[in-house]
């Protein structure tokens, strides 16, 4: 079967849709670049199968084409690249010669429509390959330029008082109040009838590429700069005026334009548009072959890559049926889109966990850290000085984050927490206090008999920077009832995080799997976070761990490294609205956490200068803390640049690894 032939507009305005093709968005196709009018002709000749075409040309040939939804090159207001350079005010162009280049069909039609219906005259239009020169040399009174040529000309004549510049998209917007669609993506109907799945594939690839393009504006600007030679700021402003979807009101603007074109006699009839059915819409041969609800692994992953949300059931299916590498490929692709550059770098934070108390009355079965209230032998409450000493050690090695984490000590109320946060912030203003999980917050609220909101408001006022996501385990109450009956329930956990987000405190999200939950319950956990994130958006990162059961009351089989890679990938695929995903070395070991950076994780987490809770399981399968230097080396060994970040994911330092010591 011959490869699909895809037409791509050679102007920079098409880059946000096209640039990702072949790279961020794989597609087996022969890509042909040309001006819109060249592509129109190639489609007509059957030399292309799928292509971007002028909107106007599409209207003319709609009977032979299928419109691909969700894609266009449009202008919401001014477009800056469809310009009429005129020696006279528009109204006075009546009866004079206007030249246009032969590069598109939409804009000459638009020019005609504007002249006829807005300015009430029928223009005298000539095609000329040197339209602008005609105006400069006085051979014409106005020239219509489009694309990169228009952008360049505007700069060239920026100071020329004698030359008026009209932006046609602005004219259209002023007149109709609607945006203007210049180009749309279409497939030849004959080709679609024969190869519906290939058209669908190309459509999906274009959507994926577009999504990548919109998420990576700097990459688009780089390419545009290289191609056009225009200054970056000009380009930035240019792209900001363009949109690439095809929803309302873009579609409305397009249809109105077709109406006027018909009125002007440019179209014989109002086009009957056939749109490529989207997976959820009307049945097409391809859609019925792969209904999304019970879809194949391939279709679920394709959906995820096209920006669709993977359901709990689909997540379960992926867990059980997808090839590990298929999952990993999709996850690392999604990771790269969420975190541009994550294929070349990985971040880590220099932090310290400080366990201020181990006294706790919550008695979770999976915990080996707590001591009961009244345990005078092993129970402790650290003094402020002890806490300060530990933070001073952290600061000495360039650390930026402290995580206070403790038991639910019935002696400690809001005043204790306010005081310790305030004193830490006063003494170490450079340190970010990322502290107090939901269950600790809830505990404070109970002890001090104040609302969660008041707890968080007061802690924030005292200087708390953000909240860790600990204590989530599995956010499904059946599981929580079984393993930690006295601990925060799901709704309560989210109440704390929601309230924090509402108050402007960011937080992280976590999971401990391997507690006897089902795979469906793991996916429900991810879905619960995702739903909350849609509402409040305050989760910065997600951190999954596998459960270590030694020295706890729960004996559970150890989860495998293979399962961890699968989970990392699935977390990345499911959590479409949480930016960062951490690989953990405490339970998985440094070697596997290195590998996790290739399976969807973009962050190596913290060096955890002091970690007592997981270590209390006394599992000989745990790994001793990594030092800052080790974290740098471990990341560098994966071929990525180690970047020290702070809690806000801002760069603290880019480390250059000593590659001499990296064993390749």
């Amino acid at each position: 079967m011959p490869r699909l032939r895809l037409g791509s507009i050679e102007f920079i305005n098409s880059l946000p849709v096209d640039l990702g093709l072949g790279g961020a968005s794989p597609l087996d196709a022969e890509i042909v670049r040309g001006t819109p009018s060249a592509l129109n002709d190639l489609m007509l000749a059957g030399s292309l199968d799928v292509s971007a075409v002028s909107a106007f040309w599409f209207a003319r040939h709609a009977a032979d084409l299928v419109l691909l939804p969700g894609l266009s090159i449009s202008s919401e207001s001014g477009v800056q690249s469809v310009l009429l350079f005129s020696r006279h005010p528009w109204k006075e162009l009546k009866g004079t010669r206007i030249t246009v280049t032969g590069k598109g069909r939409t804009t000459p039609a638009l020019l005609e429509i504007l002249c006829r219906f807005r300015y009430d005259f029928t223009p005298k239009v000539d095609y000329s390959p040197s339209a602008l020169e005609d105006v400069v040399k006085g051979r014409a009174s106005a020239a219509l330029l489009i694309g990169d040529e228009a952008l360049t000309a505007r700069r060239r004549f920026a100071g020329d008082e004698a030359l008026r510049v009209y932006d046609l998209a602005e004219e259209w917007k002023d007149w109709t109040g609607l945006p203007l669609v210049f180009a749309v993506w279409t497939a030849r109907r004959a080709y679609f009838n024969e190869h519906p799945s290939r058209v669908r594939e190309a459509h999906e690839a274009l959507l994926v590429s577009k999504r990548w393009g919109l998420e990576n504006p700097e990459a688009i600007l780089d390419a545009a700069e290289a191609r056009s030679g225009l200054p970056r700021e000009t380009l930035r402003s240019y792209f900001s005026g363009l949109s690439y979807g095809l929803g309302e009101p873009l579609r409305k603007g397009m249809l109105l334009y077709f109406d006027y074109a018909k009125k002007a006699g440019l179209l014989d009839r109002t086009p009957a548009i056939l749109e490529l059915p989207t997976a959820s819409a009307a049945p097409s041969p391809a859609a019925t072959a792969a209904p999304v609800a019970g879809g194949s692994v391939e279709s679920i992953l394709a959906k995820a890559l096209a920006g669709g949300r993977v359901t709990v059931e689909e997540g379960v299916k992926l867990y059980h049926e997808a090839n590990l590498f298929e999952l990993g490929a999709a996850a690392s692709e999604l990771c790269l889109r969420k975190n541009p550059g994550s294929d070349k770098k990985a971040t880590f934070v220099v932090d310290r966990n400080i366990n201020y108390t181990n006294i706790c009355y919550t008695y979770c079965k999976f915990c080996a850290f707590y001591r009961e209230p009244g345990d005078v032998k092993e129970g402790y409450l650290r003094s402020t000085q002890e806490i300060f000493d530990k933070i001073a050690e952290l600061v000495a090695i360039g650390g930026t984050q402290v995580l206070l984490q403790g038991g639910h000590n019935p002696q400690l109320g809001i005043e204790y927490y306010e005081d310790i946060v305030r004193r830490i912030r006063a003494k170490f203003p450079q340190v970010h206090v990322h502290s107090f999980s939901a269950s600790e917050t809830q505990h404070i609220s109970r002890v001090s008999k104040i609302s969660i909101r008041e707890v968080l408001e007061r802690l924030k006022a005292a200087g708390l920077n953000s909240l860790p996501g600990g204590g989530a385990e599995i956010l499904v109450d059946r599981v929580r009832q079984a393993v930690s009956p006295l601990k925060t329930k799901t709704a309560e956990y989210f109440e704390v995080h929601r309230t924090a987000h509402e108050l402007g405190l960011k937080s992280t999200s976590t999971m401990v799997y391997g507690l006897g939950e089902t795979i469906e319950e793991r996916m429900m956990h991810l879905d619960a976070y995702r739903t909350q994130q849609d509402k409040t958006g305050g989760f910065r990162a997600f951190i999954p761990w596998s459960f270590e059961s030694e020295s706890t009351e729960m004996k559970m089989p150890r989860r495998t490294g293979s399962e961890y890679l699968r989970m990392i990938a699935l977390c990345r695929i499911m959590l479409d609205n949480i930016q960062h995903l951490q690989a953990g070395w405490v339970t998985e070991g440094p070697k596997l956490s290195q590998v996790a950076l290739d399976f969807g994780a973009d962050d190596f987490g913290g060096i955890l200068m002091e970690e007592n809770v997981v270590s209390a399981t006394k599992s000989d399968k745990l790994y001793a803390g990594v030092t800052k230097e080790e974290a740098i080396r471990l990341i560098a060994e994966t071929g990525k640049t180690p970047v020290q970040r702070n809690t806000n994911y801002e760069t603290v330092k880019v480390h250059q690894a000593d590659t001499q010591l990296v064993a390749g």
Binding site: P26, N323, L324, F325, E563, K591, L592, D620
Partner: protein, 365 residues
């Protein structure tokens, strides 16, 4: 597998069963594209072995730690005059094997230093005693380096050494001592050891005598990625000639207590990269083995996804990797079986010739 892009051409070859070239190997070993490497290696592993993961229930006997060589990566060997050098008497070896066989162990793996005072009769006696005590136990012993040393010591051919040891009960030869074949790094890490040609020649002799053997590669020290590929290609060519190799066993360099301690441990990425590349390049080796005592436990699980079909032995009493800082604590038989099952594989217990043994024959009454 439509996500395979960087190695699309190589994957076409893999699917068609076409041999990969040196250039292909160099691209693979230099790539950080673990996803594609792993996917291809996993594809090959599935095609060859389905869901089976092999292991042996074995005891390691390191009969002496005294060695005339001074390999820089070795943290275990002692000189003859060191107070902590030892030699196990045949009685002690027999006792250990008998005890292990009583626990269902059916393979003995014998590897030791090059001790100038131990002669052929010592080895023949050791093998005879083991076979007499436990006739069903397979003895896999003596690396090519040791066999070559005995021949030179006795001033006989290596063929004769091999014949005599077979007559005494030897059932297979391990893959140790290969280290890295390329002369440049080999000189740097183990100058006094036999060279690549000699190592390969000894294995050729082993195969001609009717025994099967394995081959190792020590990586993560001073070798280049290209030199790893060179090692694989020399093995592939040797295997074309005799067909006597069963498992390829890559060994991650362990950097503690030795002359190369300034080097870091290998990364998880490198370990998996080497395994996957080995599976893809060594199209004529039936098995790729990952020893549990050379990498983190969770990485072993992942190794099973990167081309590995064999986890080696339970190897209790192993001392060599431990001396160089291996932090892994080892598995009991049940733990190894449970781990393989947890990884979704079917545990298949074999000996080093990959044939089952009737357990009732293990210990002589």
């Amino acid at each position: 597998m439509n996500f395979i892009r960087e190695f699309k051409d190589i994957f076409e070859k893999v699917k068609a069963g076409t041999r990969l070239s040196r250039e292909d190997g160099e691209r693979l070993i230099r790539s950080k594209n673990l996803i594609e490497l792993g996917a291809m290696a996993d594809y090959v592993r599935r095609r060859m072995h389905g869901q089976k993961a092999h292991f042996t229930h074995s005891i390691n006997v390191n009969h002496t730690n005294v060695c005339v060589l001074t390999c820089k990566f070795c943290a275990w060997a002692k000189g003859k005059r060191d107070h902590d050098g030892y030699v196990l008497a045949a009685d002690e070896v027999e006792r250990r094997v008998r005890e292990a066989a009583g626990h269902g162990v059916w393979e003995v793996h014998i590897v030791g230093g090059l001790h100038a005072d131990l002669r052929m009769d010592y080895y023949e006696e050791m093998l005879r005693r083991i076979k007499k005590a436990c006739p069903g136990v397979l003895i896999q012993g003596f690396t090519a380096v040791e066999l070559d040393f005995y021949a030179r010591l006795e001033k006989i051919t290596v063929e004769e050494v091999i014949d005599r040891l077979i007559a005494a009960g030897l059932g297979g030869v391990p893959g140790g001592g290969a280290e890295i074949f390329a002369e440049r790094p080999r000189k740097l890490i183990c100058e006094s050891k036999i060279d690549a040609d000699r190592w390969l020649a000894v294995h050729r002799a082993v195969h001609r005598a009717g025994l099967r053997s394995n081959a190792t590669m020590l990586y993560g020290h001073l070798e280049t990625p290209e030199e790893r590929v060179d090692h694989l290609i020399r093995l592939r060519e040797a295997q074309d000639e005799t067909g006597g190799y069963l498992a390829f066993v890559p060994l991650a360099f362990q950097p503690e207590n030795n002359d190369l301690s300034y080097l870091p441990r290998t990364s998880g990425v490198t370990d998996l990269q080497v395994l996957a590349t080995s599976r893809l390049m060594l199209d004529n080796f039936p098995h790729i083995r990952q020893l549990w005592n050379y990498v983190d436990e969770k990485l072993i699980h992942a190794a099973l996804d990167f081309g590995v079909d064999d986890l080696g032995g339970t190897n209790y009493d192993e001392t060599i990797a431990k001396a160089a800082g291996s932090q892994e604590k080892g598995f009991t038989y049940d733990e190894l079986v449970a781990m393989i099952r947890a990884c979704g594989r079917e545990p298949v217990e074999v000996n080093s010739t990959y044939t089952p043994i009737r357990k009732e024959l293990l210990v002589a009454s």
